[in-house]
């Protein structure tokens, strides 16, 4: 019995080691004094110093961050309003059609999204660069926001809204003081997902970025094609840290919202 249990744990551990080894490998070599990822040559911060001295990369990093923040704020706004609208639809057919359309961008392969957006921007004569990348990121982040917010709205029910309007709240008050505070955890989750979608995206950006503008993913791709450069390792160290912060942030939002939900349920019963 105990032996069987150990075998099981061994398998799980093996999977975890395989999953994490490449990431740890990258970060470890970001501290290596050599120039390759073959042998560790002693500890150094020099690759991080290079990274912070690389003004081109810093600019790209800031651009990426700007795109991510702007696109997630706008996508969250549009997506939340969309989810409210979907919740207001009365006919199931309309609702299902809208939800199917909503999910198209979530199931489509990135290449299709990228290629079709490229045709779209060219047809509308929108110049490729910051604007087209921003629009694309907003576009592919909206569906996930809708999917994160919609369950919260449905959970809210109508009695709360009826009570508020009976007490004389107008539409704006209803939205700003009742609905939005209630669905806030969903909005935050949507925002976080949109943020990570935008930070992670490579394929779509690669298609619509044009010549002048670059995001971090595209830059990593073009540098990786030229071979090993430990500055990328240092960058991955920093991005690993950023991802960790995002995961922890997301985890706490989830904790908060489930506690909130549990509390609401407790109050109701």
């Amino acid at each position: 019995m105990t032996r069987k249990f150990k075998w099981r744990n061994l398998y799980l551990w093996l999977v975890f080691i395989v999953l994490y080894a490449p990431i740890i490998f990258l970060v470890v070599y970001s501290f290596s004094a050599g120039t390759t990822m073959n042998n560790f040559h002693g500890f150094t911060w020099s690759h991080y110093q290079d990274l912070f001295a690389d003004s081109r990369l810093i600019a790209i990093f800031l651009d990426t961050l700007l795109i991510a923040l702007l696109s997630s704020v706008i996508a969250t706004t549009i997506g939340t309003l969309g989810a409210l609208g979907i919740n207001n639809t009365t006919r199931p057919v309309t609702r299902n059609t809208i939800l199917s359309l909503n999910n198209i961008l979530m199931v489509s392969p990135d290449v299709i999204i990228g290629a079709s957006f490229l045709i779209f921007f060219t047809a509308l004569k929108i110049p490729l660069g910051f604007g087209s990348v921003l629009l694309s990121h907003i576009a592919f982040s909206i569906p996930i926001v809708v999917l994160m917010v919609l369950p919260k709205i449905q959970e809210m029910g109508t009695s709360l809204l009826d009570a508020a309007s009976d007490l004389g709240a107008n539409n704006w008050q209803l939205l700003s003081q009742v609905i939005v505070p209630y669905i806030m955890p969903g909005i935050f989750s949507g925002f976080f997902m949109a943020l990570t979608y935008s930070l992670d995206d490579f394929a779509v950006t690669f298609f619509v970025t044009g010549n002048g503008f670059t995001t971090l993913s595209v830059e990593i791709y073009s540098r990786a094609r030229q071979g090993i450069n430990l500055e990328i390792n240092a960058l991955s160290g920093l991005m690993f840290l950023l991802a960790l912060i995002l995961v922890i942030g997301y985890y706490f939002i989830n904790q908060y919202s489930s506690r909130h939900r549990a509390a609401a349920r407790g109050r109701r019963s």
């Binding site: 099981r8 398998y11 799980l12 999977v15 975890f16 999953l19 994490y20 490449p22 990431i23 490998f25 990258l26 390759t36 073959n38 549009i78 997506g79 309003l81 969309g82 409210l84 609208g85 359309l101 909503n102 198209i104 979530m106 199931v107 489509s108 392969p109 990135d110 290449v111 299709i112 999204i113 290629a115 079709s116 957006f117 045709i119 779209f120 576009a139 909206i142 996930i144 809708v146 994160m148 997902m193 990570t196 979608y197 992670d200 490579f202 394929a203 690669f206 298609f207 993913s217 990593i220 791709y221 990786a224 960058l235 991955s236 991005m239 690993f240 991802a243 995961v247 997301y250 985890y251």
Partner: protein, 277 residues
């Protein structure tokens, strides 16, 4: 009055969202299909489709792409199913699940880049092969490395839906099957697997479709030996600038996607980030 108020509110909410659906969901797909009927000089033609379905290069590329996507999906499934099953039996499955999902939050390109280092001529994988006496081999830019890295990247997307199905499995069915004298294999093939099949299907859908279009991996890891549909689209759009042909391949990829979704039943979305449930 009340109803009218609700109606205006409804439409006001809906304007930007509807605009998004029309402009960024419907219009691009229509434009892609439209573009597929034009040749490189901008003339309307059926030639793209004719070329595609008569040229052995394109057909072989499609078959190859589907074959490699199949291999990647199979490898991912074989690793993920036991993982998901065992996860469910640990003491803190949610924590373990979070750990499985964490790597999906690391940029895909960085993970691919890590394997360039690991699989390189004098890299750690070859050092290990030399150590156990096999001797260094060409690892990077082989079909094996492409399948390996693609499977590595996709594992969390397969584990998650299967885990959800396994955790919903009522253990009393398994116990009942054992009590009635089923062998472990019978219990698995007749009870556990059929009941977790929806999760497996969702996982296959989540892995197969992206595997058809992973163009960055075929370039960085596969050394352009495997040409997937995604690689071909990228090539046509950004290198040879033959958008018509690229769109034609895009339409084929969309059809392939629809077939996969139809075969795997549900229309569940692919969680690009593991934490989406």
């Amino acid at each position: 009055m009340q109803r009218k108020q609700k109606l205006t509110r409804n439409t006001a909410y809906f304007v930007p969202y509807t605009l998004w659906i029309v402009l960024f969901v419907i219009a691009p797909v229509i434009l892609l299909i439209y573009q597929s009927f034009f040749n490189i000089d901008g003339q309307f033609t059926w030639a793209n489709y004719q070329t595609y379905f008569t040229s052995s290069t394109y057909l072989m590329m499609t078959v190859n792409s589907v074959w490699y996507a199949f291999l990647i999906t199979l490898a991912t499934l074989l690793i993920s199913y036991p993982t998901a099953y065992l996860l469910n039996e640990t003491k803190h499955p949610q924590l373990w699940l979070l750990l499985i999902i964490m790597p999906t939050w690391i940029n895909l390109l960085l993970k691919a880049y890590a394997f360039i280092g690991i699989f390189s001529q004098a890299g750690i994988a070859n050092q290990f092969l030399s150590f156990i006496g096999i001797g260094p081999k060409q690892l990077l830019f082989t079909n094996f490395s492409f399948v390996f890295v693609a499977a590595y990247i996709q594992i969390p997307f397969m584990v998650l839906p299967i885990y959800n199905a396994v955790s919903e499995l009522n253990p009393s069915y398994v116990n009942a099957s054992r009590d009635l004298g089923a062998t472990p294999w019978q219990t698995f093939s007749r009870v556990i697997f059929p009941l977790t099949l929806p999760g497996v299907k969702a996982g296959i859908q989540a892995v197969f479709i992206p595997s058809l279009s992973l163009f960055m991996l075929t370039r960085l890891i596969g050394g352009n030996k495997v040409i997937t549909l995604g690689t071909a689209i990228e090539e046509h759009f950004l290198t040879t600038m033959n958008w018509g042909m690229g769109s034609t391949i895009g339409v084929v990829l969309i059809i392939a996607m629809v077939i996969i979704m139809w075969l795997t039943g549900s229309s569940k979305r692919r969680p690009r980030k593991g934490l989406t449930k």
